[in-house]
């Protein structure tokens, strides 16, 4: 009987999640009435709860532990509170983004419950705390005007924070990532990613003359260098790409973009020849099975998991995801693919893409260059991090050891990701204000946007709001 429930819910979850993903993309369609749009959000909400319920049915069927039922109810409560708070406080925020945030959090809870109940509970507590902490963020983004004047504070916090990790940080899995303060260990680089985006936006939103670009580049390079020295390759890559993209959009000069990528590639080649740990990663990527006893162990286990899971997955508790080292953090995607199935994992990737497009869409819509760059920077941080982790665990690219935002286990990652979503939510709210502020102007830009939306399709939602 247990088997049947696990099998049945497995297919149900795939079906519901596929529908959910479809709805997520269909919300991007250009011509949608307010009514239809709101119906999409409600259907998504229903699907989300159905997926969640199916998952915990399977969890309970296997464990027969009342704790699980309790935990399930707590999660439902949490989701209801998050939804209500956002809808009440930020009526004009992006409902799609809130849905996705909750969906990703719930998927994280589900797979973490299966991997380790204690950690799942911990993750839940952190998520609840992070929610309380980040709830005022959209409001603050809108009302605090001096954010754009703190350029050098951002730079100082960023560099000193990274330096502190490099000097006093604890080493885990070969990289220095975390600091321990008052018994709580956290990863500053997760937050400094956001601070860094603010710094670059501050530097480049007004002027982009050569001197300014040089200065910004020097500070950005210092960030990346410290991360490379801390052996945090994934972090270094995210900072680097984010900077190059932001620089390109701010200056609109392809020269900077090409030059950035070129120098990045040269730096990568140098790093490859200089550091043995880079060579090991590349070796494990090229032929993991040949070095399965050492360097390739982790990635091989990940591929075994994804491969054996197949399209439909093994079902919750039916696989061996715990055989993958660091599965809860960097390799959570493999665990999901193994037990919930390749289709489910692909849908998850698409939902992440959806979030990424919502971020970039915001960047396109903002008229204020500062906020435009913020939205863009956060979008790139998020999108590139998703790419690195999913690409890494599936052997599309060498593994760099980064987390999947909102899904992976880890307090710093979770708090930083929720903060990121909250900031973008704030921008959505602000975009709406911008629209209300000057009605006459709105007509012109509205027409302009309509032409644009014909091309991209992603603009429509915001256009609707404005």
């Amino acid at each position: 009987m247990t088997n049947l429930i696990v099998e049945l819910t497995k297919y149900l979850m795939i079906f519901f999640f596929a529908l959910y993903t479809y709805e997520g993309f269909s919300a991007f369609r250009a011509k949608l009435s307010e009514k239809k749009r709101s119906r999409i959000y409600h259907r998504q909400l229903l699907l989300m709860y159905l997926i969640h319920l199916s998952a915990y049915l399977a969890v309970y069927a296997v464990t027969e532990d009342v704790k699980m039922v309790l935990f399930y109810l707590f999660q439902v409560l949490f989701t209801v509170i998050v939804m209500s708070c956002y809808h009440l406080l930020y009526e004009n925020g992006s409902k799609l983004l809130v849905n996705h945030m909750c969906m990703l959090l719930l998927i994280g809870f589900i797979i973490l419950t299966r991997l380790s109940f204690e950690d799942a509970v911990r993750q839940y507590v952190i998520a609840a705390g992070a929610f309380v902490l980040t709830l005022p963020v959209p409001y603050l983004v809108r009302s605090v005007g001096f954010m754009r004047r703190l350029t050098w504070l951002y730079a100082a916090v960023g560099l000193l924070g990274l330096l502190a990790v490099q000097l006093f940080g604890a080493t885990s899995h070969g990289a220095k990532l975390s600091l321990k303060i008052a018994g709580i260990s956290f990863q500053p680089s997760e937050f400094i990613k956001l601070v860094f985006v603010f710094f670059v936006a501050c530097m480049l939103y007004e002027r982009t003359d050569f001197l300014r670009v040089c200065l910004a580049t020097a500070v950005a390079a210092a960030h990346v260098l410290i991360l490379v020295l801390s052996r945090d390759l994934g972090g270094a890559l995210i900072f680097f790409i984010t900077y190059v993209v932001m620089l390109y959009v701010a200056t609109k000069q392809l020269f900077y973009f090409a030059g950035g990528l070129l120098s990045g590639s040269i730096a990568a080649v140098i790093a490859y020849n200089l550091f043995s740990h880079v060579q090991i990663r590349v070796l494990a990527w090229r032929d993991p099975l040949s070095v399965i006893d050492n360097e390739g162990y982790q990635i091989s286990q990940s591929l075994f998991a994804i491969g054996t899971g197949g399209w439909f997955g093994m079902g919750l508790y039916q696989g061996m995801p715990n055989r993958i080292p660091v599965v809860k953090e960097d390799f959570i995607f493999s665990a999901i693919a193994e037990e919930l199935g390749g289709i489910f994992a692909l849908c998850l990737l698409m939902v992440c893409m959806c979030c990424f497009f919502l971020f970039l869409n915001m960047a396109m819509q903002m008229k204020d260059q500062f906020y435009k760059l913020i939205a863009l920077g956060l979008g790139v941080v998020y999108g590139f991090q998703v790419f690195l982790t999913v690409g890494g665990v599936t052997r599309f690219i060498p593994s760099t050891g980064v987390t999947l935002p909102l899904v992976s286990y880890g307090g710093s990652s979770l708090l930083a990701s929720m903060m990121m979503f909250a900031i973008v939510q704030g921008l959505y709210v602000m975009r709406q204000d911008e629209g209300n502020a000057d009605g006459s102007k709105n007509k012109k830009t509205g027409a302009k946007e309509k032409r644009k939306s014909g091309k991209t399709g992603f603009d429509s939602q915001v256009e609707k709001i404005s």
Partner: protein, 462 residues
């Protein structure tokens, strides 16, 4: 632009994940390191393994108390190639593990057995192995240690693979301690056909000849050598077998006579760097393209090696080591106009009701030599049977092409391993390659050739 770039990157990633699930996953699922295969044993009764002519090679018997016992009706005859499952897995039981533990029966049936808590029957593996030939090879090798490989050069189908000493897979559990005992130097568990590394002896002259052909594409027919039974260069003297004087001979005759004197002198003429590169391209120091466990053959002769090493290597002594399967593959490439077919053992997998799940067919590994080179080697190997060391294989029922060899493996004794590798042709039947090594016996023509003959006869005449 940023959006589109990222969109493209994400689409590539999704495309890759899809491709991985469709095409790449099998190789990872099937990896013996993948402990997830054990999960399947809880839901599926391990499937059967059959020979191409329908003989059951492995099956699982479930008794009244639902205890499962893996049984091997042919016991020792197929011990290495079929392998065992129980004390770990080996042979086909290892490579086809995933297929045997997968059940492709109708989904509704699976749900029903799930509900009733019953196991589903696993898929069956149908091999390319020919029971009659395997039995013939097994009997012919007799009480000798060694190995026999029989395969179809035009397809890569493996028809028989025998390795001795053997073991009984039915009693692997009871015998385990003894088999892996430190004092046991017989290594019964080793599949000598794929993992045994032997000095190639005169079979290596195939490679030396090929290198000579490549260095003298125009005038190799002009080659002449006057054999006086031994050949000396510096402090090294190489003797022909029994110090036989072969007199004046061309390359074809030197090959057929397996003339050590001629070949050690040829070795000294060769460009060693090119020789080394040629051997590497002939699968030396390379993983063989086969799914079962195999060892790499090794060719050890660097540029600037001393005279005696060059002379010994050219006649297949020295430090060169080959696996019987490797020799069989090269022979197969010669038989197939220079193109090597990757060998395979699994013909198809079917579910419990006989519905086809997956069909395997021969895959080309690549061209190892030009068809002209293959033709010359074939002609020479034909002459070995016609007028050389393989004369006893000469008959009017089928054509044989081959090379004999005796490899000295110890400096202290005169004992040697006896080799034969060759192929035969008869209109209307697929060609077969037969490679035989008989350990610690004597010259190839006396021990290995008769075994090959029994197999050829069994295949072409009976």
């Amino acid at each position: 632009m940023v959006t589109y770039t990222f969109l493209a990157v994400f689409l590539c990633l999704m495309g890759y994940v899809t491709y991985f699930e469709f095409a790449l996953s099998e190789q990872f699922i099937n990896n013996p390191y993948n402990k997830r295969q054990e999960l399947f044993t809880q839901k599926v009764i391990r499937g059967e393994i059959y020979s191409a002519d329908g003989v059951t090679l492995a099956e699982t018997i479930v008794d009244a108390e639902e205890n499962e016992v893996r049984r091997y009706p042919c016991a020792r005859i197929f011990s290495h190639i079929v392998g065992y499952s129980g004390h770990g897995t080996a042979g086909l039981e290892a490579t086809a593990n995933f297929s045997l533990l997968r059940s492709n029966i109708f989904y509704g049936e699976k749900v029903v057995s799930d509900l009733q808590g019953e196991k589903s029957p696993g898929d069956s593996v149908y091999t390319t192995l020919n029971y009659e030939l395997q039995l013939q090879a097994f009997d012919a090798l007799g009480h000798y240690d060694g190995a026999v490989v029989v395969l179809e050069p035009q397809t890569g189908r493996l028809l028989a693979m025998v390795s001795k000493p053997d073991f009984d897979p039915n009693t692997i559990g009871e015998d385990w301690e003894e088999l892996v005992d430190e004092d046991n130097d017989r290594s019964e568990l080793l599949n000598r056909a794929t993992q045994g590394r032997y000095p190639p002896g005169s079979t290596f002259k195939i490679f030396t000849t090929l290198e000579y052909l490549r260095e003298h594409p125009e005038d190799y027919t002009d080659y002449r050598f006057s054999c006086s039974g031994e050949y000396t260069e510096g402090h090294k003297t190489i003797h022909c077998y029994n110090n036989a004087r072969h007199g004046s001979e061309d390359l074809k005759e030197a090959f057929a006579n397996s003339c050590n004197s001629a070949y050690s002198s040829i070795g000294l003429e060769l460009d060693l760097a090119q020789f080394h590169a040629m051997c590497e391209s002939m699968l030396f120091d390379t993983d063989l393209p086969v799914a079962i466990e195999s060892s790499k053959s090794s060719f050890v002769l660097e540029e600037g090696a001393d005279t005696s090493a060059v002379m010994e290597t050219a006649i297949g002594q020295g430090q060169t080591l080959v696996t019987p399967l490797h020799v069989a593959l090269i022979t197969g490439a010669i038989a197939n106009d220079g193109v090597l077919m990757s060998p395979y053992v699994i013909d198809h997998v079917s579910d419990d009701r006989g519905v086809l799940v997956e069909q395997y067919t021969g895959k080309e590994y690549g061209r190892l030599m030009s068809s002209e080179e293959a033709a010359v080697l074939k002609e020479y190997m034909g002459y070995v049977i016609e007028a050389g060391t393989g004369r006893q294989l000469s008959n009017d029922r089928y054509e044989v092409y081959g090379k004999t060899g005796s490899a000295e493996f110890s400096t202290s004794s005169k004992a040697s391993h006896s080799w034969f590798t060759g192929f035969a042709h008869q209109d209307g039947k697929p060609d077969i390659v037969v490679t035989v090594i008989v350990e610690d016996s004597g010259v190839g023509s006396e021990y290995a050739v008769p075994i090959a003959q029994e197999i050829f006869d069994a295949y072409y005449i009976e």
